[in-house]
Subunit: 353 residues, 2 copies
């Protein structure tokens, strides 16, 4: 039986361009820190990808620091020189973990640009004379988790006013295990790792050449897709999915649909009383890959902190699933999903009645 | 002109087995943290590689924590709960950077099992009733940087008495950007990164699936090579290189050759008065990849801290080069290198005279 993959926010399939770039990079022998010809060839791969990422993200190449992913990049908050780290409670665990109070100057606000579980897009605060205003807080610095947003909605680091941003290759069709920390030029923050002094001293360690090459190729391709309107088509399919389910099941709640800006590909919905965990397993057996919450914690499934932060109670939060589409998703995929989900839903209702 | 690569301690060519495993892993779509079939397939790749690394290193699978390389793994010392971190001054920069004093209990000794610049092998201290004795120090914990040793000399984590060890895939023919922290079961130390809770909570972040697959395949192949005696042949070539140069240039000093245990593949030698940096560049132009010091600091070449720690003065340390061989090195490579180096050496002597 062929599978239908509707979990693009967990990870996206590797793009053909990224795959080819990785395979090419595997045959380049040198260590980018070596001064000889083999080393310089490896270094050239890293610098080419740095340019590709910079162009896609709207920053300078020297502002791009390659990391092993967004989680490592988020550690910039761990060593943030001073002050509080105010994290939006709907942020990803990798950012939320760095929430801390503090009284010194130099506070930072940390926001996700687009939420992985709901697709809800945050309006970024603008820099004012006394800093960034967000909810009841004023802070000196702005940290943006752009992981789910890059390649799906426009974002330009230099225009955003952000001081730092983080991103991950595998969400946009690059390989897993590579990402970047974008650091505004001249910002003085501790290194993510010290040692050999790679990445302009901001992150030591021999570079993941194949991963970096794949990241560069993927983000370039993702930007082409974005400007070619590929995600408008994805949004149409997402809307078909929601209107189909909504017409058949009146009590289903579509999170953020009514009055919030969302990513074009994400639908988070709650069928009250039907556990998200159960839905994911039943749909998996039926051939569909979806998720409940974000794909972390190694398979642990629990009620969503994100939905609770949005005001949903524990029981409602525990009944949410996330369906996330991508450029390869077809109308047939969506129809099959709706039909299978509605069948399971009816069975659940009958059992519960 | 074909090149001769004699810089295996900087990085080794990717093994065919590793390359194939990476390419296969690229086609596996899921996020290992997802509970659906796609996620479980990705998880299976990670767990298979964990078993391969555990078997090669002589530890339990649950003691293997995948990281982005040895540098990230060495950060375990940064967050070491208490006490001093006594680092051997000949350790790699990624370990040396964590040297610190401290008065609390829980001190750790950090040693490199084999030195990257000289190939010198350290005898690991044994655990005694009051801890590990090393030079003038006694400490409660032992950290071993096994990066240059694994696959070249026998090492078994569980027999070594070490509490933690670090390793890197690309030194043994795996991909760059992946490595491991080996942590003795039950040892309570802070996570390298928090967030999604991957790697048994010891290192959050979506796993580098292709890199991990390549690492597993590479270390398995490396162990086969080791038990098949491949490095005995490499040692013969290294010895031919040293005796050839030594016969022709009496003043050349071979570091550690006389009275130290060394890796089979490494020769570090000093031609007094001829800068290592110059030698590397001249040999590069002649078609040979070698190095001066370790391949870090992004191309910065400077006198070796390691050689100075061994008692060599600054000027001597600045005149050292490292030639490191591997299983693909041929006798012809060595002959060509010796002939080219001796020609350059004579020219240098004539100019200096």
């Amino acid at each position: 039986m062929s599978r239908v993959y509707l979990d693009w926010n967990a990870t996206a399939p590797l793009r053909a361009d990224a795959r080819a770039a990785m395979v090419d990079a595997m045959d380049v022998l040198g260590n980018p820190s070596s001064v000889h010809a083999e080393g310089r060839a490896a270094k050239a791969i890293v610098e080419r990808a740095r340019g590709q990422v910079a162009e896609a993200v709207g920053c300078l190449p020297q502002e791009v620091v390659f990391t092993s992913g967004a989680t490592e990049a988020a550690r910039v908050l761990e060593a943030w020189p001073a002050g509080a780290v105010h994290v939006d409670p709907t942020a990803h665990d990798a950012v939320w973990t760095h929430q801390r109070t503090g009284h010194a100057e130099g506070a930072v606000i940390a926001l996700g640009l687009a939420n992985s579980e709901t697709g809800v897009i945050s309006a970024l605060p603008s820099r004012t004379e006394d800093g960034f205003h967000w909810q009841e807080t004023v802070a000196d610095y702005l940290f943006v988790d752009a992981t789910q947003a890059i390649g799906r909605i426009p974002f330009a680091f230099s225009w955003s006013g952000a001081d730092v941003a983080i991103l991950s290759a595998h969400k946009l069709g690059g390989p897993k295990g590579i990402g970047a920390l974008i650091v505004r030029q001249g910002l003085d923050i501790p290194a993510l790792a010290t040692g050999g002094g790679q990445e302009m001293g901001r992150r030591s360690g021999t570079e993941n050449i194949a991963g970096i090459a794949g990241f560069g190729a993927a983000i370039e391709a993702a930007m082409k897709d974005l400007s070619n309107g590929v995600w408008d088509q994805v949004e149409k399919l997402r809307n078909i999915l929601e209107s189909t389910l909504s017409a058949a099941t009146k009590e289903t709640i579509f999170v953020g649909k009514k009055n919030m800006q969302r990513l074009p590909n994400t639908s988070c919905f709650v069928a009250p009383g039907w556990k998200g965990e159960t839905q994911v397993m039943q749909m998996d057996l039926a051939g569909f890959a979806i998720s409940a919450g974000s794909a972390c914690s190694s398979g642990k499934v629990r009620e969503s902190r994100v939905l609770q932060a949005m005001g949903f109670d524990r029981s409602t939060s525990a009944s949410a699933i996330r369906v996330s589409l991508g450029p390869k998703t077809t109308e047939m995929d969506v129809e099959q999903f709706c039909s299978a989900w509605l069948t399971k839903y009816d069975r659940h209702r009958q059992r519960a009645a």
